[in-house]
């Protein structure tokens, strides 16, 4: 039987698309750098595994949010697949950021007991 993911994992999963779009809005990047950079930028809050990252990147690319580009930067090293936001990806980022802000604001009020 498949193990049910815990609530924290579920929260991360829900924020994954937004996190990736927001990270790539800073500039094009590739999988290895995204894994390290995202964990660092979120103080470990979005420390991903390859199993979560690659399918998420694949889906975003397939849905036209990301534009891939293979770059061979260093001779003797493997080419890296850089992802950058498309116009559609930028629009989606704006939408998700707005929804996130509203959600976070509401939840903060709820958790903090504000009226």
């Amino acid at each position: 039987m498949a193990r049910r993911p815990d609530a924290v994992s579920e929260l991360r999963r829900g924020a994954l698309e937004l996190a990736l779009l927001a990270f790539l809005d800073r500039g094009p990047s590739f999988s290895g750098a995204i894994l390290d950079g995202l964990a660092e930028a979120t103080n470990g809050g979005m420390a991903l595994t390859e199993g979560a990252l690659y399918p998420a990147l694949g889906r975003l690319e397939k849905n036209g949010m990301l534009e891939p580009e293979w770059r061979k930067e260093v001779e003797g090293r493997r080419a890296r697949k850089y992802y950058s936001l498309t116009d559609e990806g930028k629009e989606r980022l704006v939408q998700l950021s707005k929804a996130w802000a509203e959600l976070a604001d509401g939840m903060q009020k709820l958790i903090g007991g504000e009226d």
Binding site: F30, G32, A33, T49, E50, P55
Partner: protein, 176 residues
């Protein structure tokens, strides 16, 4: 695990995916591992399967499912038993059902639906032909009486195939 062995397992997990997607992904994982200096800890086959969910199976494999379903459906037409009483049409119906489920599992909703239609088509054609000439059939093959109930059963099982493909294809849990 060594990187090469890891990538080999990823490829196995991506069985059925178009080669260009498979090669591109393996190159991406290899470049990521090279940058980070470690082989991913994720189960490689599970990673490959997750990517298969993203890309789906290749068009060739989809077509293979669609085309093969037709003869399976044809051999499952129960009226063949009018000519060959010992013919295992029910076995072929079961095989066709499994085939549709496989197509749905690997190819998703649309693939399951089309494979189901491909398997149902010869059954429906057989059904129409025998419905039109029911009296003639029953008079020729006295040992094999086709009743309205049998025809309805054939119609139901035939309609079930595309429906099953569609529903089963939608049940695949997409990776998060």
């Amino acid at each position: 695990m060594e990187l090469d062995a890891y990538l080999k397992q990823v490829r196995k997990g991506m069985r059925g995916v178009a080669k260009r997607h498979k090669n591109a992904f393996v190159d991406e994982v290899a470049a990521g591992a090279e940058y980070r200096g470690v082989v991913p800890t994720e189960d490689p086959r599970a990673l490959g399967r997750a990517m298969r969910q993203v890309h789906g199976i290749s068009m060739w494999l989809r077509m293979f499912f669609w085309i093969t379903a037709f003869p399976l459906g044809l051999l499952s037409v129960p009226f063949i038993e009018a000519w060959y009483p010992a013919f295992p049409a029910t076995l072929f119906l079961m095989l066709a059902t499994v085939w549709v489920l496989l197509a749905a599992y690997y190819g998703g909703r649309i693939s399951g639906l089309i494979t189901g239609i491909s398997a149902a088509l010869p059954r429906i054609i057989g059904l129409i032909l025998f419905s039109l000439g029911l009296d003639l059939v029953n008079s020729i093959f006295s040992g094999y009486q086709v009743t309205g109930g049998i025809l309805f059963g054939v119609f139901l099982t035939s309609a079930m195939l595309p429906l099953l493909g569609w529903l089963a294809g939608g049940r695949i849990r997409r990776p998060e």
